[in-house]
Amino acid sequence: MKLVLRKLALLCCLAAVTVVGCDYPDPDFRMNMVEAVSNDTGPEYQQEISDVLGAMFGTPDDRHAMPGTGLDQGRLRLAAGPTWTAEGGSNHGLYRRHCVHCHGITGDGRGPTARFLNPYPRDYRPAVYKFKSTYNPSKPTDEDLRRVLANGVPGTAMPSFALLPGSEVEALVEYVKYLSIRGQMETELIRYVYDELGEEETEDENGNTILDPNGEPVMRRIPLDVEKDAEQREVILEILAEIVDGWNAANDEIIVPEEEQIPDDVRSAAEIAASVEKGRKLFYGTDANCVKCHGPTGLGDGQQDDQDNWNKAHKLFLASVAKETDPAIASAKEKVAETLYPVRNAIPRDLRQGVYRGGRRRIDLFWKVYAGIAGTPMPGLGPASEGATGTLSEEEMWNVVDYVLSLPYEAPSRPQKALPENPNAISSAG
């Protein structure tokens, strides 16, 4: 009898826990805490910034895009919110269906699976994209993002979504831009609050500074009160317009190769060999410097000590935690530091595998040689913007592309990987 009771109690306990305890709350957009604590954003400002972002961009379940963002509301409607399928078969909540488990609800690249992936999934919030047709600091075009979705990123966990209907891909592209613009706005708001708001001295009605009993001025926090302060609203709308302009400019910042320099599709073996040979010389020369990082064998075993922007930001943040002298800020920073993933170095691509993350067409490689890869140590060899000076001519860059494309097929292609160098060898001597 008592045994039955006990079993019953056990079952009740389990049932209660199942029903109540593990209920998943509605997803929320959480703050970019690395930016917040780096800019000394206190809890009150954090709340105010969250509220402004909520007003501008809504919540994960109730997205909102101000007309000023120029985003397509219809596409966002398909991509945002919880996953469901309408009677007619149209799918909703596409971002949560396909993307969120890696890229996270905020687009911070910290979904549940992110920690286990190498490379880490892209954090959309800085709005820096690697695989694109535009100049290094420019935003990607819609077509660039679409191509990444269609092809995936070979050699990484990012799969191809080529089987999705075009309308669903369009919706996801729009939502990625929405998360990016939101992320940019968040960082800009944090910096605006740091730069322009903060504490000020208080004055009495005669314009004299009010002092506390110790003779120190009494300080007052200037709130971020967008509801009441029309000036703050104006500034924020200007920041938004600047962010959106950056995205809109992408179509004018595409690198279009000179027609007469583009190698013919059909070339003789001798012509290709001549171009490859020129490219090889450039690869190893001190103008292009490819060898320094991709290594004397092209296995990506040259300079391996650097990080991409995302990892470097975290590395610098961790260094700032160790240096922090203010105990309150130090403790806030430590809490954030605990949530970060281990910092990884940027390993140059092994060019002998024939796997190209940004696409294997010659134009994809040309864009990378020309503009470099945004957010990574990989520099460009072409002009940094229209009319600027390039390191190589377009013809030379096409030679490099030909050489790189020949590497996987170079026979016999069995070079030995260079051994890592001892990083302390010189510093101890000095």
């Binding site: 001025p217 103008d287 520099p379």
Partner: protein, 303 residues
């Protein structure tokens, strides 16, 4: 026997509860606040009314004439010894007689105690003198030798061209972070021009990915009201607006404030109402040549 069964039963219940508590209901490591639904609605309604241009009376110039601000930053304490750069690539070029050059994070002049590489600039100028409105020279050279950027803190007026030079016999790439974003290979012995378009509020880092120990800072500003202290810690900003309050931002690479803001708590800094963001305000009489001396204790640079 009976009590044993009972304790086992209770144990099982506790165990299950503990297990669930420990693992099942973990809600992730989300930090930070979430938008408040009421505040969100009210702010959204306010946004729909649009904004209002800043009250221009505050920014309107109230003074006339010009003045000069000059001075010195003096280090107070034992100057830290600089470690050599970790030059572990291209040693033939990047070391001198097998020794790597010394880092430049804190440079103190032995004779005068002057602190070099402090950036000081007017945050928002109410008026701009013509000499500061357009750069004196069209371009400025930014060179690198022995895998060291020769100008550690490099300011520039937007519109000026930065001539990025490579005086080494190995290739470099110059990777500038921030709003302008630049990352291009600079051939051995070559020069590449770069014309930044956007202002930064504090200096941003300049690196070389091929030699990751290389580090400098870049400060593009809309007008010429900036200075970087020389080896003796001195600086001069000529033709600044007189008769009205100017707010100056002070920055040093190793300063402990956010983004490198030089925060000072000395009595003289308190007198200047030096802020926690490394800023102070000053009003200069017309045609005045104001000389200020600012003491920087070692603790302000994390020492």
């Amino acid at each position: 026997m009976k009590s044993l069964t009972r304790s086992r039963g209770i144990g099982a219940v506790l165990f299950v509860c503990a297990l669930v508590a420990a693992s099942g209901c973990r809600q992730g490591d989300d930090l930070g606040p979430v938008a408040d639904p009421d505040a969100l609605t009210n702010i959204r309604a306010a946004f729909s009314q649009g904004g209002e241009s800043a009250d221009d009376s505050a920014a309107m110039p109230t003074g006339t004439g010009w003045a000069t601000l000059k001075g010195r930053f003096v280090f107070d304490g034992v100057a830290p010894e600089m470690d050599p750069y970790n030059a572990n690539k291209d040693e033939a070029t990047c070391t001198i007689n097998g020794k790597a050059p010394l880092q430049e994070t804190v440079l103190v002049d032995a004779a005068t105690k002057g602190l070099a590489n402090v950036a000081i600039f007017i945050r928002k100028a109410p008026r701009v003198h013509e000499s500061a409105a357009s750069p004196a020279t069209e371009s400025a050279e930014f060179d690198q030798k022995n895998c060291v950027f020769l100008t550690h803190v490099f300011p520039l007026t937007v519109g000026q061209t930065m001539q990025i030079k490579n005086s080494d016999n190995v290739g470099h790439n110059t990777n500038i972070e921030g709003k302008n974003g630049f990352n291009q290979t600079i051939p051995a012995g070559g020069t590449i021009d770069f014309t930044p378009k956007k202002e930064e509020t504090v200096p941003v880092s300049v690196r070389c990915s091929i030699h990751p120990w290389m580090l400098a800072y870049f400060l593009p500003r809309e007008n010429g009201y900036y200075a970087v202290t020389g080896p003796d810690g001195s600086f001069e900003i000529p033709n600044v607006p007189a008769g009205e309050e100017l707010e100056l931002q002070v920055w040093h690479e190793s300063a402990t404030g956010p983004g490198g803001a030089l925060v000072l708590n000395t009595p003289e800094a308190k007198k200047r109402k030096w802020s926690k963001k490394g800023r102070f305000r000053i009003t200069l009489p017309q045609d005045d040549v104001e000389e200020i001396e600012i003491t920087v204790p070692a603790s302000a640079l994390g020492g």
